[in-house]
């Protein structure tokens, strides 16, 4: 037990050692029982100066028995802190909320033809000419629903005759489009309100589509 080690021990008791010095001291402590005992007495001396010496002192070999018991105890992995599962759940909930909000915001509500058309047109392929017409209509599939599959499965329903959607061809594909009930806000029908619906049942043969499109125009 050298004097320099004792001085480092004293500084460690006051939290004045750097991490590296503390690591070095720990290694010394591993092999130096006298140094470990001095640590015990340094703290007891501090208690004595403050008039706080406990009425019951642990017996001389107590700390050694505790460490022996710890060595025999089932080892609990000392792992890096992990975040509680609730933290991850909260993160997931926030992400889901943001996604829902993004869907609601990006839902097209009767875009003007000049703004909607380019968006839809970029996703139209030559193999689906009937859907290409939808791209030129006032209502366009939202960007998040763009692509062939989405275009085939979704149609927008137009409301009322005064709506800019009135001229929207109701059957531009082999799927039947059913207008939804208009939504009223403060008694007025919102011209911008729109809904998408998934259509499952084909009712019109594909050959009839060009004729219906001409009628709609």
């Amino acid at each position: 037990m050298s004097e320099s080690n004792l001085e480092n021990l004293s500084a460690a008791a006051d939290g004045q050692l750097s991490a590296q010095e503390l690591r070095f001291l720990m290694r010394r402590l591993d092999h130096d029982q006298a140094l470990r005992d001095a640590w015990d007495r340094f703290h007891l001396a501090g208690d004595g100066l403050r008039g706080q010496v406990p009425g019951q002192l642990a017996s001389a070999g107590f700390a050694a028995r505790v460490m022996a018991a710890i060595d025999q105890a089932p080892l609990v992995a000392v792992a890096p802190r992990r975040r509680h599962w609730l933290h991850w759940s909260a993160g997931g909930a926030i992400a889901a909320g943001v996604a829902v909000a993004a869907l609601m915001v990006s839902q097209p509500a009767g875009r003007r033809p000049d703004t909607a058309a380019p968006v839809a047109a970029t996703h139209v392929t030559s193999a689906d000419a009937s859907v290409a017409d939808v791209g030129s209509s006032p209502a366009a599939a939202p960007q998040w629903l763009s692509g062939n599959v989405a275009s085939r499965l979704t149609q927008q329903a137009a409301y009322g005759s005064g709506s800019p959607m009135a001229s929207y061809p109701q059957q531009v594909s082999q799927y039947q489009v059913q207008p939804l009930q208009p939504v009223q806000f403060n008694g007025a029908i919102s011209a911008n309100d729109a809904r998408y619906m998934i259509l499952l049942s084909p009712v019109v043969p594909a050959q009839a589509i060009p004729q219906q499109r001409a009628q709609a125009r």
Binding site: D14, G55, L57, A58, S59, A77
Partner: protein
């Protein structure tokens, strides 16, 4: 750096896998914990067993310790629960009112005579305090002031250096020399301490 920061540094070393850091925490708090438990359990032979079990539980739970409270506060709660569980297991009724952690650490009477203290143990406590006080009184002034500012007033080395008008290295040296002098006198007193297991 205060006591909590010193403990936290040791706790982080334990959490990083350094078992020796836990040995230092045990040695630092062994007397306080045994004294705390002796307030719940009168049988002295049981006190150290419960204190040992408390430390083992703390060791097992330490990976989950997040430092939201001071280490001793956390350890104190483990010890109180372990003592109460012991009383229940022995068919005894645990006390309904707890000792506040502040009283257990710094409060008046924290180290004073209580039901399970024997005259011999009380004498030991008095001898320790008297030895420390008399040694400090006999120290050269610069050592006495430095150790008092650190241990009693809780000042950092920086603050002590400023108060004493000397470099931090000198403060560190003075505090060490004061501790060394106290230790020289304290060691023979503690060597007479009974080891209840041997």
């Amino acid at each position: 750096m205060g006591e909590n920061e010193v403990d936290q540094a040791l706790v982080e070393r334990v959490q990083a896998g350094d078992r020796r850091a836990f040995d230092l925490l045990v040695r630092k708090y062994q007397h306080r914990l045994v004294a705390l438990i002796s307030r719940y359990v009168r049988d002295w032979s049981e006190c150290e067993d419960i204190a040992q079990e408390s430390f083992v539980r703390a060791w097992k739970a330490l990976p989950a310790f997040r430092g939201e409270s001071a280490f001793y506060t956390w350890l104190y709660k483990i010890a109180v629960n372990t003592a109460k569980n012991h009383l229940v297991a022995m068919g005894r009724r645990p006390p309904t009112d707890d000792i506040a952690v502040e009283d257990a650490v710094h409060g008046p009477g924290a180290g004073r005579l209580h039901e399970s203290a024997t005259p011999e143990r009380e004498l030991m406590r008095q001898q320790v305090e008297q030895t420390v006080f008399s040694t400090v009184q006999a120290l050269p002034e610069e050592l006495r002031v430095a150790i008092t500012l650190r241990e009693v007033d809780g000042l950092s080395y920086d603050e002590i250096a400023e108060k004493m008008g000397c470099p931090i290295g000198t403060v560190r040296s003075r505090i060490f020399r004061a501790r060394e002098a106290i230790d020289e006198k304290l060691r023979p007193v503690l060597d007479t301490r009974e080891d209840y297991r041997t």
